[in-house]
Amino acid sequence: MTPEIGQFALALALVLALIQSVLPMLGAVRNNSLWMQSATATAIGQCLFLAIAFAALMRSFIVSDFTVVNVVQNSNSLQPLLFKIAGTWGSHEGSLLLWVLILAVFGLGVALFGSNIPAALRARTLSVQAWISVGFVSFMLLTSNPFERVFPPPADGTDLNPLLQDIGLALHPPLLYFGYVGFSIVFSFAVAALIEGRVDAAWARWVRPWTLAAWMSLTAGIALGSWWAYYELGWGGWWFWDPVENVSFMPWLLGTALLHSAIVTEKRGAFKSWTILLAILTFSLSLLGTFIVRSGLLTSVHAFAVDPERGLYILGLLALSIGGSLALFAWRAPEMERGGIFAPISREAGLLLNNLLLAVATGTVLFGTLYPLFYEAMTDDKISVGPPFFNAGFIPIMLPLVFLMGLGPFLSWKRADLRGLVQRLGAIAVISALASLAVWYLTTGGPALAVLALALAFWLFLATLREWAGRIKLFSAPFSESRRRARNLPRAAHGMTLAHAGLAIGMMGFIGSTAWKTEEIVFVTPGTTVAIAGFDVRFDGTERVSGPNYVADRGALVVTRDGEPVTTLYPERRFYPVAQSTTTESAIRSTIAGDLYASLATPASEEVANGAWTLRILYEPLVLFIWLGAVMLVLGGAMSLSDRRLRIGAPKRKAAIAMQVEPAE
C-alpha cells in the first residue's frame, strides 16, 4: 500500500507544479495578487506531497519491502539500518526523487521566507521553479518510477553497491544535491528577472543568500565525496578528475564566481547581465551533470545504469531550460542599463578578474570532460583525458586567482590606491616567499611548481589575516577596542576571512599531499617490516572477521618510530557475498603533519609465497588540511549567510525614519 501512496503523492505533486507553473506567472502579468499568492500554497503542497513520496520510498527500504523493484535492486535484509536508509537515494530513481524533493524545498523556502521580495518577482520565480519541477517529476513518472512493483517478490534483495555502504557516501548525495539543485532557485530568480526585464541591487541581495546556501552544501558535498574516495577506494588519492567529479566541480567553480559577481551587482549595480548569465549557467552545469551521470554518455566509475531513452528525455529538458533561458538572455539582457564605472585598479576590477579566471577554469574543466565525446564524434577514435590535462590546464589558472584573492579584499570600490597596497602587503609577500623557500630547503627539494604554489598559499593566508586584523585594528589599538570592532564588523566580513583562509589551508593540503607524498607497494608476509617516512611498519598477518553482510580479512600493522610504538593499523579487505564484490577499507593514522595510509590489495599469486599480501603504504603530508580547509569554507559561508543584511533583507526606509523621529517625541 505504501508504495502506491508514494506514487499517488508524486502524481499530485505534478498537478500542483503544473498549476504553479502557470497561475502565478499569469497573475504577475495581469497584476492579480490572488493568483500570485497561489504560489505559496502550491509550493507548500508540492513540497509536502514530494516529501510523502520520499518518505514512502524510504519506508519501503527500511522495512525491506521486496515487492518494490527498486528495493530489491538496492537493498538487502542483512544490511545495517543506516545503509538501508541510504539505499533510498542509492539508485537512479531514488536519487531523482531526492532531487525533485530538494527542488521543492528551495521553492518552499522562497514561498515561506521570501516575504521581503516584491510580489511579482516572487510569483514569477516560483513559477519558473515549477517549470523545472514539472519537467523532472514527469520524467520520473514516465521513465523512472521508483515505486514499480515486482511479482512474485524475491526472497531477498541484491544489496546496495558495497562501495556505497559507508557513512561518508550515505551523506554525500543529499549534501551534493542540496548544492546542485539549490542553484535552481538562483536560476529561477534570474529567469524571472529577465522576464520582468529589471535587475537591480535589491535583486542581487535577494539572490545572494540562496546562492550561498547552495554553494555551502555543494562545498560540503564535494569535500565529503573526496574524503570518501580517499579512504574507501584504497588508492590514497582524493581527486581523480573523473567526469562525475568534474560535473559537480564545475557548478562549484561557477557558483563561486556568481557569489562574487552578485556582490558587485548588489553594491555597485554593475555586472548585471554577467551575474544573470552566471546564475543561468551555474544551474545549467548542474543539469548537465545530472544528464551526464544518468545517460551513460561518458566512461566513469560511478555512473548510474545506462538507458538512452532516459538520456533523451533529460536532454530534451536541458534543451528547453538552458536553451530557453539563454534565448531569453540574448533577447532581454542587452537592454539592461549599465552600472557604475570603475578604475582599472579597484575592487570591481579585482572581482571582474576573479570572475574571468573562474569562468576560464570552468571552461577548461568542461572542455576536458567533454573532449573525449567531441573527439569521438569528429574522428571516430576514442581517447581519454586524464589528470595531466587538468593539472596542466587548471593549476596555471588557479595560481593567479589565489594571488588576486590575497589582494582583492584590500581594494576599495571604484578606485584603489596601488602604492598603499604595496606598502601594506610587501612584507607579507617577502615572508611568504621566504617561508616556502624554507620548506623547500627542509624537505630537500620538491617540484618548483609546488614551491611556488606553497608561497601563494602562505601569501593568501597571511594577507587574509592581515586584512582582518587591519579591519579590527588588532595590535594597533587597545585590545578592548579591537574586540568592539570585531563585534561590529559585519558577519559577512568574518565569513570572507574564514573562507579565504580556509582555501589557503586547503591549498597547503593539496600541495603537501601531492608533491611530498611517499608510497611503497610491497609484498608482505607475517613479520615483514616496511620503512616509510621515518616509520617502521610490521605486518603481523591477517585474521578473518565477519560483519553484518560481509566477511573481511583484517590485517594488523604495528607501526613504530625509532623503536617507539606509535599505533596499530587494521586495514581490511571486505567481501560482500550477496553483491559478489570486494572493497578495501584502508586504515589511516591521521595527524596534523600527515596521514600514514595503509590498504591491503588482493593476495599475491600463490606461488610467490604463502599468505603473502600486496600492501600499499603511503605517507601523505598535510592531508588533514584539505578537510580542515573545506570545513572552514563551509563555516565561512554559514557565517556570511547569518549576516543581518541577508537575514532580514534591506532595511525598510520608513522604519528607519520612524526610529529617528521617536526620540524627539
Partner: protein
C-alpha cells in the same frame, strides 16, 4: 554588434547540445575501446631487450615466426594493476601453456629488472619500449593491455586493462581457446 555578444552563450550551448545528442546514439558504448588492429597483421616494431635482463628482446619478425598462438602483454613496473595481473599471467603460463611475450612500456630498465626479480619472470621475450614508440604502433590506451596473436601473425584479440578477476579471466581464456581452435582448423 552588442547583440551578437549576448547571443554567444546560446550558440555555444546549441553546438554542445548537438554533440550530446550524437553521444546518446544507443549503438555507442563509451566503455568499449575498439582496436583498429583486430584481424590485421601485427604492426612493425623492433625492441631491444631490457637492459640487465637475460630475456631476449621482441620484434615483429620474431612474432610472425612463432607458428603458434602467443600472448603479448604490455606492462610496466610503475603500474599497480600490472602487479595483480602478473600473478594471473604467471598462472596461465604454468597451467594453460600460454606463450607469453612482454612489452615493457615506458619503464626504467632497473625498475623493471627489480620488479621481475621480485615477482618472477613468466615472459619468454621482453622488449623494452622506453619511449613508448611501440606502444603507439600497437595503439594502446594504457597499461596493462594484452593481445592474442595468431600463428600467422595477425592480431586476434585485445584486452584493455588487467586480466584480473573471474569475469575478465574467463573472457580472456575463452578468446584464447577460440584462437587456438581456429588455428587448429587451419592446419
Amino acid at each position: 554588434m552588442k547583440r551578437i555578444v549576448f547571443l554567444l552563450p546560446i550558440l555555444l550551448v546549441v553546438v554542445m547540445g548537438g554533440f550530446l545528442l550524437w553521444g546518446l546514439n544507443p549503438e555507442r558504448n563509451p566503455n568499449e575501446i575498439p582496436s583498429v588492429l583486430i584481424a590485421q597483421p601485427i604492426p612493425e616494431f623492433s625492441l631491444e631487450p631490457v637492459e640487465g635482463l637475460e630475456t631476449p628482446g621482441l620484434n615483429a619478425a620474431v612474432l610472425r615466426e612463432m607458428d603458434e598462438v602467443v600472448v603479448v602483454n604490455v606492462f610496466a613496473s610503475w603500474c599497480v594493476p600490472c602487479r595483480a595481473e602478473h600473478a594471473v599471467l604467471t598462472r596461465m603460463v604454468r597451467e594453460d601453456g600460454v606463450r607469453l611475450m612482454g612489452i615493457n612500456y615506458k619503464d626504467k630498465p632497473a625498475d623493471a629488472v627489480k620488479w621481475l626479480d621480485n615477482l618472477g619472470n613468466p615472459y619468454e621475450r621482453i622488449g623494452s619500449d622506453l619511449n613508448g614508440r611501440a606502444g603507439i604502433e600497437w595503439g594502446i590506451s594504457g597499461v596493462p593491455e594484452t593481445f592474442i596473436i595468431g600463428a600467422d601473425g595477425t592480431v586476434l584479440y585485445r584486452y584493455v586493462g588487467p586480466v584480473v578477476g573471474e569475469a575478465a579471466e574467463s573472457k580472456f581464456l575463452i578468446a584464447l581457446a577460440q584462437a587456438r581452435a581456429e588455428q587448429g582448423e587451419g592446419e
